[in-house]
């Protein structure tokens, strides 16, 4: 054979391997409304940027007739490429090859690309579409999962790790996405659970569909396991690209700077927040009134909506926003919103993204269910992550900041660098009604008209204490600012914090209230 023949032979082998499970299996994949693994990679990466490795890897299982089976690429495609010109490593499980099941060599391909990603300090994207462990490979398959989880943990906080669930992801397999930074799901396509409906039925006798048990909506709305919900694979890929535009490539870098743009004129910051602290508004409109081009990229939009987290830019710099949402449950903190906020703060801190906190909350949600679900332990996560974060921390109190909620939401006492308050801010140990009822209990009870006296005392307390000036007089607030000055103050705070150097005591790691 001359060189030309050898190249033709290579091409022939490539073509066969690239077909994965073959035409019939591909047809079945498409009929389920899913793209093939290869098409997914090509849709996500810059055109012609994907370079594949380990295409000719073969499994070495011998039992149960496996020695007679040839599985192209062993059910997973791995490689590197670029997104918006920046380097990316990626793997995509190929459901057309024995259901994308994970065997030893399949896992070996994944861990190899993970090691590359960590060494080259670039993000890792994993597209999950797999029936789970390859039963014929027994403990070798379990070993493969373990090796992946270990690397997920080592890479955590060093390189961004993105999991895209585009098919089933069940049993132990779900723990790799759970260990990564961001989980993307697509309606009707993503399915995640530890034990599926069949097992639940046989063990517990309870009947439920895959969709109701662990579909995309369940994880986006109920469990909080997913961070981004899309209606189609294409929309999901756009979301991934948008997320990547906001975050740095590794923990030694800063997020890429964008061209600064003013917020859109339609978001008038003075017209969004009602003065009455008991009236709702959408805090996302306040964020949109503050960020470049009014472009706010929300994370976990559907879960624990009483708190809002996400990315935006101020003068071209990426900022992580944390806000109470008075529109939902009056913006209280509870078990889920505490988890949501605390984890996001740790992400921003790990990846050098300044945190801007917008405060407007009546406190933690009272209730037997909340107490019994451990709101103490969960709520403590917010205190922990704010205290531990050393990135620039800027807090703006819009209206209510009562009690424990005031302390938790990026207060001065947790070492926020800048704390500003609007003139509408009410910083107090509790709301005026509650406070007046306690402090003036005797006067109210003994008054000829207790209701009139109560109203008078509430008014008196509101005027004296429900304002930002008491806190400002102690230096807990750095400046009381008008709403329209907010963007300017945030931009300046970020500008002067550029060389911030705040350390923590020497330690291996803390013991956060997980």
């Amino acid at each position: 054979m001359d060189l030309k023949d050898k190249i033709l032979e290579l091409q022939r082998r490539r073509e066969i391997a690239a077909k994965g499970g073959g035409d019939k299996a591909i047809e079945k994949q498409l009929s389920m409304g899913k793209l093939t693994a290869r098409d997914r990679i090509n849709a996500l990466l810059d055109p012609d940027s994907f370079h594949e490795y380990d295409l000719f890897v073969q499994h070495d299982a011998k039992d149960f007739g496996m020695d007679k089976k040839e599985l192209h690429g062993d059910g997973v495609i791995v490689g590197t490429g670029t997104i918006n010109g920046r380097p990316i490593s990626i793997f995509a499980q190929d459901f057309t090859v024995v259901g994308g099941s994970l065997g030893r060599m399949h896992a070996g391909k994944i861990t190899k690309i993970m090691d590359h990603a960590l060494k080259m300090r670039m993000p890792l994207i994993g597209i999950n579409d797999s029936g789970g462990a390859r039963i014929q490979e027994g403990v070798n398959s379990l070993a493969g999962y373990g090796e992946i989880f270990f690397r997920n943990t080592l890479a955590s906080g060093v390189i961004p790790q993105i999991s895209v669930i585009l098919g089933p992801c069940a049993g132990g397999a779900v723990y790799s996405p759970a260990l990564t930074d961001w989980v993307f799901v697509v309606d009707k396509i993503s399915k995640m659970f530890i034990t599926g409906p069949e097992v639940i039925k046989s063990v517990l006798g309870e009947e439920i569909s895959q969709e109701e048990l662990g579909g995309a909506r369940v994880h986006a709305e109920t469990t909080g396991n997913a961070h981004f919900f899309a209606r189609s694979e294409q929309e999901c890929f756009e979301q991934i690209k948008k997320l990547l535009s906001f975050i740095p490539w590794n923990n030694d870098e800063k997020a890429p700077r964008a061209v600064p743009k003013p917020p859109k004129a339609e978001y008038d910051i003075e017209k969004i927040v009602p003065v009455d602290p008991k009236e709702p508004y959408d805090v996302r409109d306040v964020i949109r009134a503050l960020v470049d081009d009014s472009d706010f990229f929300e994370v976990q939009e559907l879960w624990a909506a009483n708190a809002v987290i996400g990315f935006g830019r101020i003068n071209g710099e990426t900022v992580g926003f944390v806000a109470n949402q008075p529109l939902v449950l009056a913006g209280v903190l509870d078990v889920d919103s505490s988890d949501k906020i605390a984890r996001f703060i740790r992400y921003c801190d790990a990846f050098n993204i300044p945190i801007v906190t917008l405060v407007d909350l009546p406190g933690y949600l009272p209730g037997i269910d909340q107490e019994h679900m451990g709101v103490i332990r969960h709520g403590a996560k917010i205190l922990y992550s704010y205290s531990e974060a050393t990135v620039p921390k800027i807090t703006i109190i819009l209206r209510k900041a009562y009690g424990g909620g005031y302390i938790a939401m990026g207060s001065r006492h947790l070492r926020s660098d800048f704390v500003f308050a609007w003139p509408t801010a009410e910083i107090a140990v509790m709301g005026p009604e509650g406070a007046a009822n306690i402090i003036f209990k005797k006067e109210i009870a003994e008054a000829p008209d207790p209701e009139a006296m109560r109203k008078e005392k509430v008014k008196e307390y509101t005027e004296k204490f429900a304002n930002p000036f008491v806190a400002a007089s102690k230096g807990y607030i750095d400046s009381v600012i008008a709403p329209f000055e907010t963007r300017k103050y945030i931009a300046h705070a970020i500008e002067v914090s550029v060389n911030k150097d705040a350390g923590l005591p020497r330690k291996k790691h803390g013991i956060p209230p997980f």
Binding site: L204, K278, V328, H372, E433
Partner: protein, 108 residues
């Protein structure tokens, strides 16, 4: 944009002594009311199948006596009396599959 004009679409949530206008979540609306624990009723701690019942109604039992076997997660769990008493009522039959927190036996 901001939908603060119309108060009618909002619910009221009372927190401490103030009424807040806001939207409620599915999870909040579906939260389970608290049921105080009845010490006399022995509930299933896990879903499972009743394999065997070792006592009869009216029988005197001592603390620690095995009452029944609940098979759950491939484990034969012996459910024991947590106090001396008389078996007042048996709610389950052998072979019956029951969910979590299902009453199995009542003592008095």
């Amino acid at each position: 944009m901001s939908n603060t004009g119309d108060k009618k679409e909002f619910n009221v949530i009372r927190l401490w002594d103030a009424d807040y206008h806001t939207l409620l979540t599915k999870k909040y609306l579906n939260r389970k009311p608290y049921v105080p624990r009845d010490e006399k009723k022995i509930l299933s701690f896990m879903p499972g199948t009743i394999q065997k019942i070792m006592v009869q109604e009216g029988q005197q039992v001592k603390r620690g006596d095995a009452l029944l076997i609940l098979e759950s997660m491939k484990m034969m769990n012996r459910v024991r009396a947590h106090a001396d008493g008389i078996v007042k009522h048996i709610y389950v039959k052998p072979g019956e599959s029951i969910p979590k927190n299902h009453p199995m036996i009542e003592l008095e």
